[in-house]
């Protein structure tokens, strides 16, 4: 069913049941939002998306107001623009406005809107003095509630996407604040450090500890890639600066996972440039010498870095020996989710056809 509405004088046929914001977006009419996110239930908290509806006594929040037949909407009237600007200023009054040194400057929705509306930073207000900075011991997530505008996207992301219900709202009125659990640390409130709350935070209230202060948004190249950890196939953007991966960011267009990532996908990327990372095959020294096992003293197994050819020859020789001595079913193969599908397939071929055993399994099944 469709209804006839007007947005800024333009006649539009809209699908009944859609919100003003959805219809406006479809017709390229810009309405600013802060607490709204397409993945989360709309709440109408922040009042940035207010629009004027003809005949209405109050302004309506576009994110939660459904369209109705004959509705006439003004998205940019003087009243609307004035109210949005003032609402922004009320938020900024209790915000440190330290964009110069803030990690998210450049991709902060609050900053963008303050710029768009040329909001004046009020001289009054709490000004970032209310809460300790970096207040949570979580190893991955940096919490600075002074920058929080109480949009509650973190609360919804944790509840609706991750299902952990770590974040909540406490106190009331001007003292309202976002808390983890019963006023505890995040980990005590069952946080599994997935970082969904960080991904959905429109300001710098929640940011990433691992790459805090490492790069501004415009200094990084974003490389879209698929996570190498498990078989789900999540996509995300690697943040690359000076040819080094410095972080991971959700890519809202990821087909499998959307903005969601797990703690490994989002935060366990530091192995890439880790000095301990093994980049070439290694074999034990005795295999290169006389082939007899011996006890090596001290730490280390007396590993010797070799070329691929050498390593593979040794493996092939050992496979053949074992198979002829003990039979094919004495061997088993375990493959890894960090391999590609094709590689896994080849491993399957190797086990079943070359070696002749059905003993093959995969870590994603564990």
């Amino acid at each position: 069913m469709t209804v006839n509405i007007k947005i800024n004088g333009q006649a539009i046929q809209a699908e009944a049941g859609k919100t003003v914001l959805q219809v406006a977006k479809e017709h390229d009419v810009h309405i600013p939002t802060l607490c709204y996110h397409k993945d989360l239930s709309p709440t109408g908290n922040c009042r940035m998306c207010v629009v004027e509806v003809k005949g209405g006594r109050f302004l309506q929040a576009a994110c939660v107001t459904p369209v109705w037949e004959g509705m006439e909407i003004e998205t940019d009237s003087a009243k609307v623009v004035n109210d949005r600007k003032m609402t922004l200023e009320l938020m900024l009054a209790n915000h440190p406005v330290d964009c110069m040194t803030c990690d998210v400057a450049g991709e902060c929705e609050l900053q963008d809107l303050a710029y768009e509306y040329q909001a004046k930073i009020p001289a009054w207000g709490a000004k970032g003095t209310r809460y300790p900075v970096d207040s949570d011991p979580n190893p991955f997530i940096r919490v600075d509630m002074n920058k929080c505008i109480l949009c509650r996207r973190c609360v919804l992301a944790c509840e609706e996407i991750q299902g952990r219900q770590v974040w909540g709202v406490a106190k009331r009125g001007f003292n309202e604040q976002i808390v983890a659990g019963a006023g505890t640390t995040m980990l005590e409130a069952r946080c599994e450090s997935c970082g969904q709350c960080v991904a959905y935070c429109p300001t710098g209230a929640l940011s990433n500890k691992m790459n805090y202060g490492r790069a501004r948004a415009h200094q990084v190249k974003k490389v879209t890639t698929t996570c190498s950890y498990c078989g789900v196939g999540c996509q995300f953007d690697l943040l690359v600066k000076n040819n080094k991966i410095i972080g991971v960011q959700s890519n809202p267009n990821a087909p499998v996972n959307g903005m969601a990532l797990c703690v490994k996908g989002r935060y366990a990327y530091d192995y890439v440039h880790h000095p301990d990372r093994v980049l070439k095959p290694r074999v034990r020294r005795y295999l290169l010498e006389d082939g007899k096992s011996k006890i090596v003293n001290g730490d280390g197994w007396d590993w010797q870095e070799v070329e691929w050819e050498v390593a593979l020859d040794i493996v092939a020789k050992k496979f053949a020996e074992t198979r002829s001595a003990f039979g094919a079913d004495s061997m088993g193969f375990l493959t890894s989710a960090k391999c590609l599908n094709e590689e896994n397939y080849l491993m399957n071929k190797l086990a079943r056809q070359v070696i002749g055993t059905n003993n093959i399994d995969h870590c994603a099944r564990l």
């Binding site: 908290n45 922040c46 006594r57 009320l90 406490a170 009125g173 001007f174 309202e176 983890a180 980990l187």
Partner: protein, 594 residues
């Protein structure tokens, strides 16, 4: 990396037992928190977490509640003395009472008393008022404060005497019956309305209420019949009836008096509502400060069950209905109907998105009729005497009678019932006994805390549900501005009369103090707007006004009215705008630091 090891303890058996007592229902979260607090004298992070785990809820939800409701506390308290900090008690020098209480023997010597402020106790006719644990006390003058220690609780106001010109319908039995005796009530014709309703079809009852034109008495004046029609026409069952007895607005105490003097009338009205709407269960959401009234209501409900007026197969019919009493825990916002429903479901009392409105999706997402105490109390009389009779009680466009309250600098403050269409002059002169000697009328706060501040020029303007500043107005700015200068709001029907000694600036500061303390914090304009307005008014009232203060107040009022999420923020603007419109000169004076 954090090295802190997180240890999970089993839930304390004591709290588990308390949760079991409430059926482990998530809806019982508020009751459970109250029980835990009563047993341990304070809530702790551990006990809140345990309570949450016992109800299988996330800890943040219960912590959110524990820090939201003013009667819950994470700080250890002893015997709690709540001194009212509302505008009416301010007018009666409650701060002096508080100082005197702090100096009393019981507060000083044995350290067993915790003194707290509270936004309003609903004891405006007994100002300055104090709540001693759950005992209502007032008026407690500062030189009588010492008597609190001896168990003295002030003298309750007696409303059995009928004032000249009153038309008593809902208040007719005040002082004539023992409110705790159903026999007495039955002998005086209470429940006759229910009997005659049960002889009709529910549709006929609904039509009768609709024809009567009864308008909701919580302040908005929405037609009761229409609301019930919405509920009855919803196909989904069960449907619910909810009575809003969270009377937390300063100036308003009528619901308390109605329940106190005749609880059966409310029970009867709710049963009729249930019958008309096809509902099966009802809740009375009564504010936590009204513990006495809650008990009285529970007693009335029990008695009605014994008489088969409530429960299974009422009066031998196939209609079954039950009423529960749910106590709040101190939050003005819970008077907003959707916030009330959230609170009833065991959450923070924050307003919900509308639509859907409660008649379509209310308590537990089911069709729900939420009405004020007074609205329910009017229903039995309409059914008993007919819609025509109700309409003929007055010539005013708003039919029927209203329980009015008049407070402040008048000779006879208190409560009375009269038909709609009074003027301020009539309220003061005819019912309030005139201004106090030496006092002359300066302004009146009309409706409730979120009502208009009316100057002498409006003393003869007509007040009813069509007269509020936000009624029937579109976005025609000129018409709107003109309306601000002309109207008086009816609200819940209370009028606080102030004489020349009260400055409108100081007075507005008191109101803002209330709203800033009671804003729930959900939306930006109200959360920060009320706080900022209070900051400006604090400055103005302490002689530090700055140029531009009035303009900023005006723009904050406009923002809150237009952009706030719910009725609280939207109506904060009403006293602000009307004060600034009518007393602009006074504000301009303090702005310059004079």
């Amino acid at each position: 990396m954090t090295n802190k090891k997180i240890v999970y303890h089993p839930i304390s058996p004591e709290i588990e037992e308390m949760a079991r007592h409430h059926g482990n229902k998530p809806e019982a979260a508020l009751e459970l928190l109250k029980d835990v607090q009563t047993h341990h004298s304070a809530l702790t992070i551990d006990s809140v977490t345990d309570a949450a785990r016992a109800l299988k809820l996330p800890p943040h939800q219960l912590y959110g509640m524990a820090t939201f409701y003013s009667m819950l506390s994470l700080e250890e308290r002893r015997k709690v003395l709540r001194v009212c900090d509302g505008p009416v008690c301010w007018l009666k020098r409650a701060s002096e009472t508080r100082e005197a209480i702090e100096k009393t023997a019981c507060a000083q010597n044995n350290d067993k008393v915790t003194i707290e402020r509270t936004s309003c106790l609903g004891l405006c006719d007994r100002a300055p008022a104090v709540l001693v644990e759950d005992e209502q006390a007032g008026p407690i003058d500062h030189n009588e404060a010492w008597r609190l220690c001896e168990g003295w609780r002030g003298t309750p106001t007696d409303y059995s005497e009928v004032r000249n010109g009153e038309t008593r319908v809902m208040t007719a039995l005040i002082g004539k019956i023992d409110p705790d005796s159903i026999e007495d009530a039955l002998a005086h014709g209470v429940y006759d309305g229910l009997r005659s309703a049960m002889q009709k079809e529910p549709v006929a009852v609904l039509s009768e209420v609709e024809t009567s034109g009864l308008q909701g008495r919580g302040g908005a004046g929405f037609p009761v019949g229409r609301k019930w029609r919405f509920v009855a026409s919803e196909k989904r069952t069960p449907r619910y009836i909810v009575c809003n007895a969270d009377e937390s607005e300063p100036l308003i105490f009528k619901d308390r008096v109605l329940i106190d003097t005749n609880p059966h009338q409310l029970v009867e009205g709710m049963i009729i509502a249930g019958y008309a709407c096809g509902a099966s269960e009802a809740w009375v959401y009564i504010r936590g400060e009204y513990e006495y009234q809650a008990r009285r209501l529970e007693n009335a409900i029990e008695q009605a069950k014994v008489k088969n007026l409530l429960g299974e197969n009422i009066l031998g019919s196939t209609f079954s209905f039950d009423i529960h009493v749910h106590r709040g825990a101190g939050a003005y916002i819970c008077g907003e109907e959707t916030a009330l429903l959230e609170s009833l479901e065991g959450k923070r009392g924050e307003p919900r998105l509308r639509p859907p409105y409660p008649p379509a999706s209310g308590f537990r997402g089911q069709p729900t009729a939420v009405n004020n105490v007074e609205s329910f109390c009017a229903v039995p009389h309409i059914i008993k005497n007919g819609a025509e009779w109700w309409r003929n009680l007055t010539n005013d466009p708003t039919p029927g009678t209203k329980v009015y309250m008049v407070l402040g600098h008048v000779k006879k403050p208190g409560l009375f019932e009269a038909p709609f269409g009074l003027t301020l002059r009539e309220i003061i002169e005819d019912f309030g006994g005139g201004m106090l000697p030496g006092s002359h009328f300066n302004f009146a706060l009309c409706g409730g805390a979120a009502g208009t501040i009316a100057p002498p020029a409006l003393m003869d303007s007509h007040i009813d549900y069509s007269s509020g500043p936000l009624k029937g107005v579109t976005r025609d700015i000129k018409a709107m501005e003109k309306r601000w200068t002309q109207v008086i709001s009816m609200g819940a029907g209370s009028f606080l009369i102030c004489d020349q000694t009260v400055s409108p600036v100081n007075f507005l500061r008191e109101l803002m103090h209330f709203f800033a303390a009671e804003s729930c914090g959900k939306c930006t304009p109200c959360r920060v707007g009320t706080w900022r307005s209070l900051e400006i008014l604090n400055r103005m009232t302490s002689g530090k006004g700055q140029l531009g203060d009035t303009d900023e107040l005006k723009s904050l009022a406009a923002l809150m009215q237009d952009s706030s999420f719910c009725g609280l923020g939207q109506s904060v603007a009403i006293p602000m705008k009307s004060a600034l419109t009518h007393f602009g000169a006074e504000f301009a004076k303090v702005e310059k630091g004079q």
